[in-house]
């Protein structure tokens, strides 16, 4: 099943409004906001590493209230248009929702999810920079990587029983998580993620990339190809995963496009340790907050 019912759409959209952010970003936003001379670029770093904050900020700035001639896909753009103080106060309001608990009833590992999202985001941007032919913006690829599994966090927070069952079924039957989600919930996380970014007027390319990242159609454009490969590399190099350990083979058209299999691409991307380290230092739980 690839469609979501109107009922599910409304339920999940409303859920995102109430969703808290990741502990480390909440901690950093509170620190930054206490300093009247805070550096705007520090705030950018925090928000663009938190899928929940990024999602909420872009949802508001792409809304009909601003009517911008083009869709906004980076936190820097949001800062130029809305100004530091407004973005800072928006981040504070997100922080006020509390933090995503380390444990959830679905048993979904948030830490690994965040690691996987951050590394997939950086890898997708790198792929686009190395192999792009001008049909995608590296920053949009970063965003696609950051948000591609967002549907899973929504499931874990707001449909924990069903999501837990899907996680179990995928393990027991050795099927991929998205297939299990389709069986149990009736829609998988790629449909839900795409539905949310689509509803909030994010660029169509982005919604398409998220929707198709487990699709049956071989990835054709640079964004989708970069996202697909980045997703697999993150899992293959154990940089993180979000409940699905299966590393998928590259479809032939992608192997042609990027000149070889996953190992060849990894070799050509060079030293990736910095990507993992950066994500790790951010994903680490802010201890003071949880204490």
């Amino acid at each position: 099943m690839t469609e979501t019912s109107a009922n599910l759409t409304d339920k999940l959209s409303a859920a995102v409004e109430k969703m808290p952010a990741f502990p480390k970003s909440v901690q950093r936003v509170l620190e930054i906001a206490r300093d009247i001379n805070c550096q705007p670029k520090e705030l950018v770093v925090v928000i663009e590493k938190d899928p929940v904050m990024t999602m909420k900020l872009l949802r508001i700035i792409n809304s009909a209230y601003y009517n911008f001639p083009k869709q906004i896909t980076t936190v820097n753009q949001a800062l130029v248009y809305l100004g530091l103080n407004t973005v800072k106060n928006m981040a504070l309001s997100f922080a006020a929702m509390g933090v995503l608990p380390q444990q959830n009833a679905a048993g979904f590992d948030m830490q690994r999810y965040l690691m996987h999202s951050l590394t997939t985001a950086s890898l997708a941007r790198l792929m686009c920079q190395k192999f792009g032919n001008g049909d995608a913006d590296p920053n949009d690829c970063y965003l696609a990587g950051l948000l591609h599994d967002f549907g899973k966090v929504v499931f874990a927070q707001f449909m924990p029983a069903e999501f837990r069952e899907a996680l179990d079924v995928s393990q027991e039957q050795a099927i991929s998580l998205h297939e299990a989600e389709r069986q149990i919930i009736g829609a998988d996380h790629s449909v839900v993620g795409a539905m949310l970014v689509g509803k909030w007027q994010f660029p169509k390319l982005l919604a398409d990339a998220i929707r198709q990242h487990h699709g049956d159609i071989p990835p054709e454009n640079t964004m989708l190809g970069s996202l697909f490969v980045a997703d697999q590399i993150s899992k293959k190099l154990s940089m993180g995963h979000s409940g699905n350990l299966v590393v998928e083979e590259l479809p032939p058209n992608l192997a042609d496009r990027f000149g070889g299999g996953l190992d060849d691409i990894i070799a050509r991307l060079g030293d990736l340790s910095k990507i993992a380290e950066e994500a790790q230092s951010f994903a680490r739980i802010g201890k003071e907050i949880l204490a």
Binding site: Q39, P40, K41, N67, F68, N76, V80
Partner: protein, 295 residues
């Protein structure tokens, strides 16, 4: 079209012997179209003396455009007497605030709370219509067309371009020209600079060719570095903006509350001197409470 300044002071009212000539009221500008439609830009304390003059022409229809919700641009609104008189029509336009999720209606509801003001919002007897202004969209105000432009301030601030019968006025409200948050050499510098350049150009285009530009010139060049990020322009940034946009006349406003009349004239003259001999300069003036200009 006629433009009259009722308040030209920034931040806080500043009455007293040192501000007698330019005035101490906070921002309020009256614009009248050739058909005598009434447009009011901001409701700082200057709107109170304006309100007194309107009592002679009841019932009134007033199109109030609020640039942003900081005190010095809203504080006179509960004292805008026509809101209490049945038969008047008040249209209050203003920006959407992403933090509260509310539009201009909140400007009144917040100010007219029991602890801060004796009359409740529900007791306003006129017909008040709140309209959230969308950046880039034009609305009618009587026979005039008013277009909102998103500018740069610590809270969402809309500049307004008013056009009627081939004449045009642009008011910035409070605005600091966009600047790069990265240092040259930082990773994001070039990308951010491209965004800044794009926004600056967008604003110049929105102001292009106006007869009168009224702009936020709170600071001098010397004062600015200590106030960077506070959301205000300088005399120089206003002159450069007017020059780039080909404005015919520039009024510098949002005078610093601590600046005496003599001091204001001195720093203004110094700024003008820096542009002596420069081409494409508009007619540059200091906004003064009570001054009226017709185009």
């Amino acid at each position: 079209m006629k433009v009259k300044f009722w308040g030209v002071r920034g931040s806080i009212p500043s009455p007293g012997p040192k501000t007698m000539r330019y005035g101490g009221n906070t921002t309020c500008i009256e614009v009248r179209t050739g058909d005598n439609d009434l447009i009011i830009l901001d409701g700082g304390t200057g709107i109170f003396p304006l309100a007194q003059t309107l009592l002679r022409e009841l019932p009134v229809t007033a199109h109030i455009f609020n640039t942003h919700s900081h005190w010095d641009h809203i504080q006179g609104l509960p004292f805008f007497i026509p809101i209490f008189i049945p038969g008047n029509n008040i249209h209050l336009h203003g920006a959407f605030d992403p933090i509260s999720g509310a539009g201009p209606e909140r400007i009144m509801s917040i100010q007219m709370q029991y602890s801060y003001f004796p009359v409740r919002e529900a007791e306003m007897q006129s017909r008040i219509l709140y309209q959230t202004a969308m950046p880039g969209e034009s609305v009618s105000a009587g026979a005039a067309t008013v277009t909102a432009v998103l500018l740069n301030h610590p809270v969402s601030n809309l500049g307004y371009r008013i056009e009627h019968n081939g004449k045009s006025v642009f008011f910035t409200g409070d605005h600091e020209p966009h600047y790069n948050i990265y240092e040259p050499g930082d990773d994001g510098y070039a990308e951010y600079q491209a965004l800044v350049d794009e926004q600056r150009q967008f604003i110049v285009d929105a102001i292009r060719g106006v007869d009168i530009l009224i702009a936020d010139a709170a600071y001098t060049l010397e004062e600015y570095p200590a106030k960077k990020g506070w959301g205000h322009g300088t005399f120089d940034s206003c002159i450069q903006l007017a020059q780039a946009a080909g404005a015919k006349m520039l009024y510098c406003t949002h005078h610093e509350p601590t600046r005496s009349d003599d001091e204001l004239e001195r720093v203004f003259a110094e700024a003008l001197a820096r542009y002596a001999g420069s081409s494409g300069l508009p007619d540059i003036r200091l906004a003064r409470e009570g001054e009226e200009v017709e185009i």
